[in-house]
């Protein structure tokens, strides 16, 4: 694979992650909830983690609610576990920046919205698609033991509920897997192909 990225674009590599999880057993969690529009006015990528799920985490006076992210039990969790169709709606990459900025390295669900999935991958947050029974069991496991451990093995493409021992394979294309394992992004790959782009342009005179 002709990857020629340079060190200056290196991001946090992803290989094997063993961590506790934050459960969010709601379906159709949209990116407006992950990061409300009024926080999209920044011109850099910093600070979005503070406003992750802002309107679920804080009431209008700014006091903490009973939302799961405010539960100190889950303070060190690196994995968010969510219901079906996570990240639907707006294409805002700020949602991925908020999740990464908060400290999550992976999101587990049985179904992700397309744009969010790409955005997460481009920020080295791994979206892990599991079966509905695996997800239901994982929610149950966390309910019984909030400190339950999940192991995500990217090289082997497996996710394991350590408490029950149940393990599943997950899908990721080998190009993106290589990028995550090595901390590489897409831009230098594209730039290294400029001759191919120009060739395409020569063959396709635009209408």
């Amino acid at each position: 694979m002709p990857l020629k990225q340079k060190d200056k674009t290196m991001k946090e590599k992803f290989n094997i992650l063993t961590a506790t999880c934050v459960p969010l057993p709601l379906q159709n969690v949209d990116t407006d909830q992950i990061i409300p529009a009024r926080f999209l006015k920044a011109t850099d990528k910093k600070g979005f983690g503070d406003n992750l799920f802002r309107d679920w985490r804080y009431d209008k006076q700014g006091n903490k609610t009973s939302f799961v992210l405010n539960d100190p039990t889950y303070a060190d969790s690196k994995v968010l576990v969510a219901g079906k169709n996570f990240g639907s709606g707006s294409s805002r990459e700020h949602a991925a920046w908020a999740i990464a900025g908060y400290g999550f390295r992976a999101v587990i669900s049985c179904f992700f919205a397309d744009i969010f999935r790409n955005n997460a991958l481009n920020n080295f947050v791994l979206p892990v698609v599991v079966s509905e029974p695996f997800l239901a069991e994982l929610f149950e496991t966390i309910k019984n033991n909030p400190k339950a451990i999940i192991k995500i093995d990217l090289p082997a493409q497996t996710v394991t509920n350590i408490t029950t021992g149940n393990s599943e394979k997950f899908e990721i294309n080998s190009y993106k897997k290589h990028c995550l394992e090595n901390g590489l992004d897409d831009i230098d790959f594209l730039l290294s192909n400029k001759d191919k782009i120009e060739d395409w342009e020569k063959k396709h005179v635009q209408a």
Binding site: E93, N118, N173, Y175
Partner: protein
């Protein structure tokens, strides 16, 4: 045996990465102020210029106020974001239509109306409603900011090819039923994830009979079923709409383009990964009752009861109804509302203003309703005035505001207050979308007009029978 989508996508593949995405050439990149600043910052960090600046068009729309646009934006954070886009466009040599310029407006309204969006193109923008442009027979889809940076740097994007779906709507729409109702109907049947992973082609008699504006509304909402994009094969309606537009090809170039555009249709024996058929006669004026666009129903139906909702979805269902202040089994007809919003990239075009105005003509806005009537662009504003719709609106108690995304996502000061009900022609009823605590009921311009003059949720057909 190719689909329309295959034809355009495949023609734009520069190369296929082994066991990975396609490297797709992009004809047009649209940039607005919210999702582009970090992409330009990334270019600067890497010391790069834009690869094909002539194919990139920028305009602010999300933060723009809908009044006093001739003065500096009062909110300093919004102002900075809008100014940043202007500076980036200047620094990188890109076309930029700033606030108050005749070509400014919501990017998904301006692209088609200026002839920037053309059949056969690949079009991306850091905005999920980029699916709008598919109505012109283009492959158009929303992307994230990292992907915007890819296109700025290389005019290409790495993207897995979606699966294909055809949604056919046969027959003729009933009176009082619009493209918006068609879309809300599809979402209610498909759910917000029913088309995730797919690129949708809309076909059938009811689609063919839609105006260009109606098609733009329908394709705009494709993302709300989770689809990567939606598209309609270009035809005489499309060509007539494009002809003479500022950036449309002219003279010999027009004839050549037209000959190509006429080939842009799915082959008769094309195979789609999924095919779904609906009947136009089954579609009625729609309204949403929940907190995602799939939670919609015919305006005279009742909200579902809890037993009809699957066990896994019940918590989300109850959370949504609790937020909206509704109960399972409720009817919404006669329910008092507080705000009406006409506008957005979904329903901010001239046809939407004609429909709204045709309904409110000779009637007056209800006293309990605050109405925000926001054209999608200055061009739409101009058309409104040329057709005298402004006079009718004024006589009926509606003031026209200045163009922009406005209350669709409330990034400017057009926010629906907490707990208030808004009948909105926009695209999303998510919690807090139109302002913290705001309660949104998505509907067509006709349903919005009926609510605006009666002050309650009303079936517009009661007036047009």
């Amino acid at each position: 045996m190719n689909t329309l989508f295959d034809k355009i996508w495949d023609a734009h593949v520069v190369q296929k990465v082994e066991d990975g995405p396609a490297q797709l050439y992009i004809d047009r990149l649209y940039c607005h102020e919210v999702t582009s600043p970090q992409a330009f910052a990334g270019l600067r960090e890497r010391g790069l210029r834009c690869f094909r600046p002539k194919q990139i068009f920028c305009m602010p729309d999300h933060n723009t106020p809908t009044h006093d646009q001739d003065k500096p934006i009062a909110d300093p954070v919004s102002k900075k974001q809008v100014d940043t886009l202007s500076k980036n466009a200047k620094d990188f040599g890109l076309s930029h239509y700033g606030m108050m310029e005749p070509k400014n407006g919501i990017i998904h309204v301006v692209g088609p109306e200026r002839g920037l969006t053309l059949p056969g193109m690949t079009i991306v923008c850091g905005d999920s409603h980029t699916s709008t442009h598919g109505a012109m027979g283009a492959v158009a889809f929303g992307i994230g900011t990292s992907e915007v940076e890819m296109v700025l740097a290389s005019q290409c994007i790495l993207q897995a090819k979606p699966k294909s779906m055809r949604i056919t709507i046969d027959g003729t729409l009933q009176a009082g039923v619009t493209a918006k109702d068609m879309a809300l109907f599809l979402m209610s049947k498909m759910t917000t994830s029913g088309a995730t992973g797919y690129f949708v082609e809309y076909a059938g008699e009811a689609i063919r009979n839609l105006s260009m504006e109606g098609r733009l509304t329908l394709c705009n909402l494709s993302i709300e079923m989770g689809a990567r994009g939606g598209m309609i094969a270009p035809d005489e309606t499309t060509f007539a709409y494009i002809k003479g537009k500022e950036y449309a090809p002219k003279g010999d170039a027009w004839n050549k383009a037209l000959a190509y555009w006429e080939t842009l249709k799915s082959d008769k024996d094309a195979i789609f990964d999924k095919e779904i058929v609906f009947q136009a006669k089954d579609i009625e004026p729609m309204i949403t009752y929940g907190t995602n666009p799939g939670m919609g129903m015919s305006i005279n139906q009742h909200i579902p009861t809890e037993e009809t909702i699957s066990k896994e979805a019940r918590d989300s269902f109850n959370k949504a109804l609790n937020y909206m202040g509704f109960k399972p089994g409720d009817s919404l007809l006669g329910k008092k509302i507080d705000y009406v919003f006409l506008g957005s990239c979904t329903n901010g075009r001239i046809e939407d203003f004609r429909a709204f105005t045709s309904f409110v003509k000779g009637k007056h806005k209800a006293d309990n309703v605050i109405a925000w009537v926001v054209p999608g662009s200055w061009e739409v504003d101009k058309q409104i005035r040329e057709e005298g719709l402004d006079v009718i609106l004024k006589e009926s108690g509606f003031a026209i505001r200045q163009p922009g995304c406005s209350a669709c996502l409330a990034m400017n000061d057009d926010k629906i207050p907490e707990g208030k009900y808004a009948v909105s022609t926009s695209n999303r009823n998510f919690e807090g979308r139109q302002g913290p605590g705001a309660r949104t009921l998505l509907a067509s311009p006709l349903v919005a007009a009926a609510a605006a003059v009666t002050g309650v949720i009303t079936d517009p057909r009661d007036f047009i029978k």
